[in-house]
């Protein structure tokens, strides 16, 4: 599939490069927010883990049992070379093998829009994790809307930095699209955080028009209703 995790380094790249050396202190803003959502000592799968900055941070600060999936060979090799448990693979191909509720938390950061089958991936996330944390760029962001209206050209923002002919982002969506899909497939949004252009977090209703207009990206904590009904999920 397209390089799903290339996008992982897109947002806020200029201000906080996702390198391991900087992991502890300068974790990318959205990753830092995700890290705050993860309980100490949980079992975590980070899909599209890049060079392992989040996993390294979680191992160091939260004592988690972390695993990663990364599509780029250099990313995987860097992770394993630093003692992280990471496999080469991608969200479309490699999630089916995992058993149900294998992890406390599954993280998919800035990768959903680059998967071939986002719907299937979302279902897999809430199956193999008791919780899933998903972040993605909001295509309903006012600057994107305005740019398209005024210029008639595909948007180029610091979150969506590729021209249309070489972008790995093949399934872009708005926050409302995402919320609608979650409703449709029985995925519950437990918590949502929207980030403005400077990476500042706000709590806005993901189904409301304000979030969809003002948020450049969103972070969502999800769980599968099926997991709850079969007793596999443990409510927090």
């Amino acid at each position: 599939m397209a390089a799903s995790t290339q996008t992982a380094a897109l947002c806020l790249e200029a201000t906080a490069p996702r390198t391991k050396a900087a992991a502890a202190e300068e974790l990318r803003q959205d990753l830092r927010l995700i890290a705050e959502m993860i309980e100490p000592r949980s079992r975590v799968l980070d899909i599209g883990c890049g060079d392992g900055a989040l996993l390294a941070y979680l191992a160091q600060h939260k004592n988690v049992d972390g695993r990663g999936i990364e599509i780029s060979q250099s990313g995987v090799n860097a992770c394993v070379g630093h003692g992280l448990s990471v496999i080469q693979g991608d969200a479309d191909r490699d999630l089916d093998a995992y058993p149900t509720a294998a992890f406390d938390v599954v993280v998919l950061s800035q990768t959903l829009q680059a998967t071939r089958q986002p719907r299937r991936v979302l279902q897999a996330l809430v199956r193999i994790g008791r919780r899933a944390i998903v972040s993605f760029p909001n295509f309903g962001f006012w600057r994107i809307r305005l740019g398209l209206l005024l210029t008639g050209r595909m948007p180029l923002t610091h979150c969506l930095a590729y021209p249309w002919y070489e972008t790995p982002n093949i399934h872009l969506c708005t926050i409302r699209d995402f919320a609608a899909l979650c409703d449709e497939i029985g995925v519950r949004i437990e918590r949502s955080v929207t980030l403005d252009r400077l990476g500042r977090p706000y709590s806005l209703d993901p189904r409301g028009s304000l979030a969809n207009l003002l948020a450049e990206q969103g972070i969502f904590v999800l769980c599968g209703d099926t997991a709850e009904t079969t007793g596999l999920g443990q409510g927090s």
């Binding site: 049992d65 060979q73 992280l84 448990s85 080469q88 693979g89 490699d94 294998a102």
Partner: protein, 389 residues
């Protein structure tokens, strides 16, 4: 044009070879149902076992490898097959770890194999040697580690057939394996690989000097057949790209083709050399038995057809490594192992390394392989309480 012109060299007496020998008197029940024993295990060690006996690494050798991981080979004098990896400060750091490598059951470097004398007859076992499996080899290694009083291995590591042994260790003795590193391996031998092995075996058996396996008693040696087997196998260890890079269609010390069957191309000389040097150090019947053991390997079949079952509940940490140009044990076979381990919720890392060196890449200086191994082992050592490097 014959491949070999020199008569086969006589092996040095086994007792002069470096390393250790353990005589196991208690017979071992093999997969074929035979209680086999007594038998000898020839092994080599590097580094020192720590007071907790927690720093042992079992190195599993490949089809034609042996226990001389980092010693000059006692017959060829060539450096050990993983000398680039082993040593003080090396990836397999002998200051830090205690390395053990045993010649496999059925081998020809000191561990009991078809060339040893059957105690019942005094004659070489030849084809009366029982057909062995990868699991049998691993059982023998377990006997050795019991003797060395090593209950828990820090790591089991190996490439190719060595990777098969690593997987078998993880499946058979999960409590004894803290970390497992199968490199360029598979959970079962593919039909194509069985086919290549069959070509090799048929080449040996077609050699009149094989004498239905009784060549040792008759003072003969099927050097031609064994050399051809090696030549065919050696091609599968390389890649088209590597062969082209090394040899291309260049001519061997001549300006034009000779319109004959002399080695016009250096790739021919290279293969002939590979064949002729191999027969000096390897026993033809051992080659039959060990290739057969690989053919029979199918870890899922032992576990109701599910590879994930083989690793159910495992707490070992796995690092699976494959090479992009390896067409003998291609990456997708490693990925099958990864998926099975994921299904078993195991702790697994998986790295595919870009190289054009083919299957043999695991024996060569591949910087990315070294870096991966070093990082993985350091991480495991920390978890094991062996301290930071």
């Amino acid at each position: 044009m014959p491949i070999l012109t020199s008569p086969p060299r006589r092996l040095r007496p086994v007792q002069d070879w470096p390393g250790y020998r353990l005589l196991v008197r208690e017979p071992l029940r093999l997969d074929c149902g035979i209680d086999f024993g007594p038998f000898t295990i020839a092994y080599q060690t590097y580094g020192k076992l720590n007071a907790d006996r927690s720093n042992a690494i079992l190195v599993c050798h490949a089809l034609t490898g042996d226990q001389y991981v980092a010693d000059p080979h006692p017959i060829t004098g060539k450096p050990g097959w993983w000398e680039t990896l082993v040593g003080s400060g090396g990836v397999l750091d002998t200051e830090r770890y205690f390395l053990v490598c045993a010649n496999v059951l059925g081998g020809c470097m000191g561990t009991t194999g078809p060339q040893e004398a059957n105690p019942a007859t005094g004659e070489p076992w030849a084809l009366s040697f029982p057909v062995i499996t990868i699991r049998d080899m691993v059982r023998v290694q377990k006997r050795l580690l019991d003797h060395l009083e090593i209950d828990s291995l820090f790591c089991v590591i190996g490439g190719s057939m060595g990777a098969m042994q690593v997987l078998q260790w993880a499946a058979s003795y999960p409590e004894s394996v803290f970390a497992a590193v199968p490199i360029a391996g598979a959970a079962r031998h593919s039909a194509q690989n069985i086919a290549f092995h069959e070509v090799g075996r048929q080449a040996i058996m077609a050699d009149p000097d094989w004498c239905s396996g009784h060549y040792l008693s008759l003072g003969r040696k099927p050097v031609r057949g064994l050399a051809v087997a090696r030549m065919a196998a050696h091609i599968t260890y390389l890649s088209e790209t590597a062969l082209h890079r090394k040899f291309g269609r260049n001519l061997q010390d001549r300006l034009a083709v000779t319109y004959g069957f002399d080695a016009d191309f250096p790739v021919e000389s290279y293969l002939r050399h590979q064949g002729s040097t191999f027969v000096d150090r390897f026993d033809a019947n051992s080659y039959l038995y060990i290739t057969r053991a690989m053919d029979y390997f199918d870890l899922a079949a032992e576990h109701d057809g599910s590879l994930a079952n083989a690793f159910k509940g495992t707490r070992s940490r796995f690092c699976i490594i494959s090479f992009t140009s390896d067409w003998l044990f291609p990456t997708f076979e490693s990925r099958q192992i990864v998926h099975a381990l994921n299904a078993a919720a195991a702790n697994v890392s998986f790295v595919e390394i870009a190289t054009d060196n083919g299957h043999d890449a695991f024996l060569l200086h591949e910087p990315e392989l070294f870096e991966t191994l070093r990082g993985f082992l350091n991480g495991c050592a920390e978890h094991r309480g062996l301290g930071r490097a």
